[in-house]
């Protein structure tokens, strides 16, 4: 899980005994953009890790909006349990980057209260598994208040943190909550896969006037993705509710989200290589609202639909998409839509068993081949 405190900047150690610090220390004023190692390519794209993309999004939004602050466990002095908030304390000071006690219901409720009072908090959960302690505040206090007040009491808050599959951490630390939050009216839910997704969606979430859950994935934090020149700018925002076709194809539509998008792309490449099949891979990006239009358009083109996700199978994201495909695209389906999901077991610890309980590339390829009768 969390790496040791290797990344704690020396400056932070030196100043750790000072209680008052200027909000914008001179030394830390370098734009975060310049502080990360990147590899430029000829067309202006750079390889950026998801972690750095999230960090950049946070820094840009903290910079541009004084109502925004981030709070959570270990976000400040420790630099984030997963180092997503690295350097933010040094740059923005303890007023805006706040370490909380380990009290999810309490600090989540506090953040929601601050949002009701007009601030734009970013509430980090060390993982969404721990947000179960606070899910009442997310749903009953944040998501429903605007409606219950007849529109006079908005709640502009962003909940973020790693969600879903993580390696070797067993059942209590690797559950996917997309379906849980995705079912709640009043919430918006995004699940980034690439670095561009991460930056664009997190910024959109912070700017959105509604409560938004940003479901990140721990295993993606260290993965680097090419980031376009446009995405490197500080005005880059992705629309919430719009899916992205990551790989166009004509034979099969694979709808996926978060980490499973990468697995689906690998599987699609294998399908092409092995069988000469062109699978279209849709990265949902947003769980709520769901981009039904893009899914159905693709389904109309390919006639076959497969969902890939890592949540529990029952009442999940793919169950929803399969139901929608029947409601909106039944006449276009040439075969029953299928889903590849996590298994209906609490995540086991042992590697072999863990592999059996989450979608693997081979599972996706196998299921696609079966669907296509290859």
């Amino acid at each position: 899980m969390a790496s040791p405190r290797l990344f704690r900047p020396a400056a932070r150690l030196l100043s750790s005994r000072l209680s008052a610090r200027p909000a914008f220390p001179q030394a830390a004023c370098t734009p975060s953009l310049l502080r990360f190692r990147r590899y430029a390519t000829a067309n202006g794209t750079k390889d950026v890790t998801v972690r750095d993309a999230l960090n950049e999004a946070l820094a840009e939004e903290l910079e541009s909006n004084q109502k925004t602050f981030i709070l959570g466990e270990e976000v400040a002095q420790y630099n984030g349990a997963y180092k997503v908030t690295r350097g933010l304390l040094d740059r923005f000071g303890p007023k805006r980057v706040i370490d909380t006690p380990i009290t999810e219901a309490g600090f989540c409720g506090l953040a929601v209260g601050a949002a009701l009072a007009g601030l734009h908090p970013i509430c980090e959960f060390m993982t969404f598994n721990f947000a179960m302690q606070a899910i009442d505040q997310i749903i009953n206090s944040a998501a429903k208040t605007h409606y219950m007040s007849g529109g006079i009491q908005p709640c502009n808050i962003t909940f973020r943190g790693p969600n879903g599959f993580a390696a070797g951490v067993a059942a209590q630390h690797s559950q996917d909550y997309s379906a849980w939050y995705g079912s709640i009216p009043g919430l918006k839910v995004v699940a980034p896969w690439s670095a561009e997704d991460a930056k664009g969606l997190l910024k959109a979430a912070i700017r959105d006037p509604n409560p938004v859950c940003v479901l990140e994935n721990e295993l993606l934090y260290g993965q680097a993705f090419p980031m376009s020149e446009a995405a490197q700018k500080d005005d880059f925002v992705l629309p919430i509710g719009k899916a992205k076709i990551e790989r166009p194809g004509k034979d099969l539509t694979i709808v996926s989200l978060s980490r499973c998008v990468g697995q689906s792309l690998t599987a699609a490449a294998e399908l092409k290589q092995k069988y000469g099949v062109d699978a279209e891979v849709i990265n949902l990006r947003s769980v709520k609202p769901l981009d039904v239009e893009t899914i159905i358009q693709s389904l109309k083109k390919t006639g076959r639909l497969m969902c890939v996700e890592s949540g529990f199978p029952m009442f999940g994201v793919s169950s929803e998409i399969l139901a929608l495909s029947m409601e909106y695209g039944f006449d276009y389906l040439t075969a029953p839509a299928v889903r590849v999901t996590g298994a209906e077991v609490p995540t086991p610890y042992a590697l072999g068993l863990e592999n059996m309980s989450f979608p693997q590339e081979s599972t996706i390829v196998g299921q696609a081949a079966k669907l296509l009768r290859l």
Partner: protein
């Protein structure tokens, strides 16, 4: 210290010295007092001091509020008027419920009026207030109209939340509800105070919950953060002796709720005495504004009605107890006090009662005559999300009822 600075000059007040802490027992209740005061000014606006009985406060690591409060005849009459308004409005709601015009939940605060009214008169409209589900009185005091509150209970378009919230979910400026989940509003209130501190304004947040909620874990999480960060918040347990039908003694290992902040100074106030509440809030606000961090108040009060409309309120408490508590009725004892002091005559009090009844009847009739929300998708789906940021489509009960934006 602070109480001394607040205490009015001896010449203006028959000063009752503080006699140290009164030993508390779970059964300790405050008695109604009528002390005489002399030299009531004839002018409505001329300030003078009125005494507060010496058993009105019990402290925990905290100095007691002054045992007198500076006020005017006008304000005293206003306090009486406001308490009568809350009482009459709740009685109107009671009747409407019994006529089956109000659906679902309806928690009445009959008997607890002095808390809502006393607090409101001790703070300003820029101070924030959040409470739990027994919220009608607070909504009225924070600026909601009787018509909008009764309208909301009746599920009308003119309700304060346009008929979408109901009894427990009413909001207005500086008032954050009306919250239906026991205990969950307490961290929210800490967050509102956090926002005040963040914005560097000097107002306070009044954060109310019941004796039942006081045992919730997240209440203590909120205490911890509030003290850790010195948030400008006055937590307040409205102890009406019962969490639904479970008495405080049957639910709490320690019923001195004002001591349960441990590291937070506390004060138990006679919540049946509007002047004691007023004095306590003024005192607490000054303490919190000075940057001293949070306070934990306990308003010892009593609910004359049942927990909700389905509860006659007799299964878990005796008629004798109810009768004894009725002798402490915050409204009638205050009325006696004011007539004894010569603030108003019996006839003038009756005149206030009459005008309040008239106002309430008028506004209730208006609310009853106001339309129900239009039964169309535009209304049903409106305000789930902030306007302009709604998803393109949302599903109704069937695919045909899918609601498209715009």
């Amino acid at each position: 210290m602070l109480s001394r600075t607040l205490r009015p000059k001896a010449s203006t007040l028959p000063c009752i010295p503080f006699r140290g802490q009164i030993p508390s027992s779970p059964g300790h209740r405050f008695r109604a007092h009528v002390a005489n005061i002399e030299d009531i000014p004839t002018e409505e606006d001329k300030p003078f001091s009125v005494p507060i009985p010496e058993d009105s406060f019990q402290t925990y690591n905290f100095s007691p509020p002054p045992y007198s409060v500076e006020t005017t005849k006008k304000q005293l009459k206003r306090l009486y008027h406001d308490m009568t308004m809350v009482r009459r409005m709740e009685m109107a709601a009671d009747n409407l419920y019994k006529d089956r015009k109000i659906r679902g939940f309806c928690h009445l605060s009959i008997g607890q009026e002095a808390v809502a009214v006393g607090i409101e008169h001790g703070i300003t409209r820029d101070d924030k207030l959040i409470t739990a589900y027994r919220s009608h009185g607070f909504t009225l005091m924070r600026g909601g109209t009787v018509k909008s509150i009764i309208g909301e209970l009746l599920g009308r378009q003119d309700g304060i939340s346009f008929g979408k919230g109901g009894s427990m979910h009413m909001f207005c400026k500086s008032f954050f509800g009306g919250n239906g989940i026991v205990g969950a509003s307490v961290p929210l209130g800490a967050g509102i105070a956090f926002a005040q501190q963040y914005n560097e304004n000097r107002n306070v947040t009044i954060n109310l919950f019941g004796d039942g909620a006081a045992n919730q874990g997240q209440v203590h999480e909120a205490f911890n953060m509030a003290k850790l960060w010195d948030l400008p918040v006055i937590f307040g347990v409205e102890n009406n002796k019962y969490g639904m039908g479970t008495s405080a003694e049957r639910a709490s290992a320690m019923t001195d709720y004002y001591k349960r902040g441990q590291y937070i100074p506390g004060l138990r106030v006679n919540g049946m005495d509007v002047l004691a509440v007023l004095s306590a809030i003024k005192h607490g606000k000054e303490y919190v504004q000075a940057g001293n961090g949070p306070l934990l108040y306990e308003y010892a009060t009593y609910r004359f009605a049942g927990h909700s409309m389905s509860d006659p309120g007799t299964a878990y408490r005796s008629r004798e107890e109810l009768k004894a508590e009725r002798a402490n009725d915050p409204l009638s004892t205050f009325r006696d006090k004011l007539t004894n002091w010569g603030v108003f005559t019996e006839d003038q009090a009756k005149e206030i009662d009459r005008s309040v009844r008239e106002t309430i009847n008028g506004e209730v009739a208006e609310a009853e005559n106001s339309p129900e929300p239009e039964l169309k998708a535009d209304v049903l789906f409106q305000d789930v999300y902030v306007r302009g940021s709604e998803p393109n489509q949302r599903r109704g009960r069937t695919i045909d009822e899918t609601y498209y934006r715009g």
